[in-house]
Every structure is written in C-alpha cells, then in structure tokens.
Symmetry: C2
Subunit: 136 residues, 2 copies
Amino acid sequence: MAAVETISLATCEQDPALYNERMRAMKDAIELLSGKWKFCILLNLYNYGTMRFKDLQETSTGITPKVLSKELQELEENLLITRTVNNTKPVTVSYALTPHAIETQPVINALVEFGLKHRTKIKGNYLAQPPVGTPA
Amino acid sequence: MAAVETISLATCEQDPALYNERMRAMKDAIELLSGKWKFCILLNLYNYGTMRFKDLQETSTGITPKVLSKELQELEENLLITRTVNNTKPVTVSYALTPHAIETQPVINALVEFGLKHRTKIKGNYLAQPPVGTPA
DNA sequence: CTGGATCCTAACTGATACTG
DNA sequence: CAGTATCAGTTAGGATCCAG
C-alpha cells in the first residue's frame, strides 16, 4: 500500500477556459471514436489502404456484418472514410480513409504505444500480487 | 460525392507479426480506457493533481456516484490511479495518478488535438451539406 | 458480395435512497 | 464524505436470416 508513488501535473489549472475547451474536445473525440471497432477499422485501413466490406470483416476478427455496417456508416458520416460502390458483377464496395482521417493517426499510435507498455507493466504486477478487486 | 480524396499509408502490410502485435496492443488499450468517463477522470487528475471523490464527481459533470465508483475501481485495478483513505473526521479519500498513468498522456493529448481539429472540420462540412445519413 | 431486418442479451447508465 | 443498494431504462453489440 505504501510503495506506489503518485504524480501531479496540474498543467492548466490556472486557465479554466482552456481546460474546458480541451475537455470538450476530448469528449467530442471519445463520442466519435469510442466503441469496440472504430479504431480497429481505422488501423486496418491505415495498413491495407482501400478495402472492401468483406476484407474488413475478415481483418476485424469477430465483427458481424450488421455491426461493421453501422460502424462504417458512422465513420463515413464523420468524414473519416469514403464509401465507393464499384461497378462489378457482384457489386463490391470500397472503403478508404479520407485525408481528415490522418488526424486520428496520433491517437492510434498513442493507443498502441500505451497498450504495449501497459501489457508488460500489468503482467508483472499481476504476477506479484492479484488485482485489487480479488475477493480474498 | 466526387471531391473527396482518399489516402493510403500501408505502413506495415509487409510485417504481419508486427501488425498483429500492434492491433492487440490497441485492443488492450481500448478495453482498458474506453467508456464515457475514464479519460475524463484521468484528465481531471492530470489537471488538479490529487482529488477527492466529491471533487471528481463535480468536475466530471453528469457522473453519478455509482458510476464514478466503478470507474475509479477499474482504473485502480489497472494501476493507473491510487486510492488513499485519509484519517479525517468525516473520512475522506484521495485519488491520484500513478507514474504509470503518464503513459496515457500522449493518448489524451492526441484525443484532444483530434477533437479540436475535428470540430472545426465537421462544422464546415455539416453546414455545406447534411450528413450522409439524412433521409432525403 | 453487401448489408439490411429481426431478435436478443449483457452491459452500461441513471435516479433515488440509504449506510458507515 | 464516500460510497453501496436497488430499481429501471437505454444501448452496444451479437446471432441468425435473408434480400438486392
């Protein structure tokens, strides 16, 4: 109970307006990108470029067509991806990132970095002592 | 429908192992930090340093005690915050960030930056033309 | 192949009241 | 002050089926 240090940054405590603006911006971002799949889809598109519906369904392991469809619509409405219907025999649809989607890359990178560090961090701690919520 | 460019990065298509590792890390991070309040709480603690339960309830506008309690427990289990019971008359509890929580700062900053840019971006587009999902 | 329709459940969220 | 208990509403997400 004793050996855990704490930190305090208090970056913009002295500027409430700036703080509120940043808080609102963060809530905007969360509302837009939260959920189980949005970042996953974006990362796939970053990696593979243009993809079709089925490609995304396969790379986003576990997603169902309905959910994928909904996620894609939301991303399109927010101008992060484009949807293009191709004039092929069984109709195909291509999805790709918009230039605006580049703005999400720092978020994705930060999430990945945190995930990598956190996994090693947690691993060690959980081996040393069980998580706090453990019954007894 | 025509004027929207697309981009393609295809950063690590040639290294599936690295890609999968990054994907898993991102999913870890999402599982841990997703939700309506986690980032909000972390940002508050960044800004104000040590806070008590009631402080957090007031700055995280809209949150109920039950939800706040749960979010705090999860953050504590994941070693992002510490919980300290103070020996005061009506007992008080202090919450603070752990050093490990510093790793979340790039994520938070990236989210804030994206939120700021996205708001201006979307504003203009929505004024020019309604979002895609509009009935008619 | 794309993805909508339907149904369903677990989880999240909220309001209120209550206890140590 | 710091929560937990209870009750209730909403929703995200999944399973399955089917249509263009």
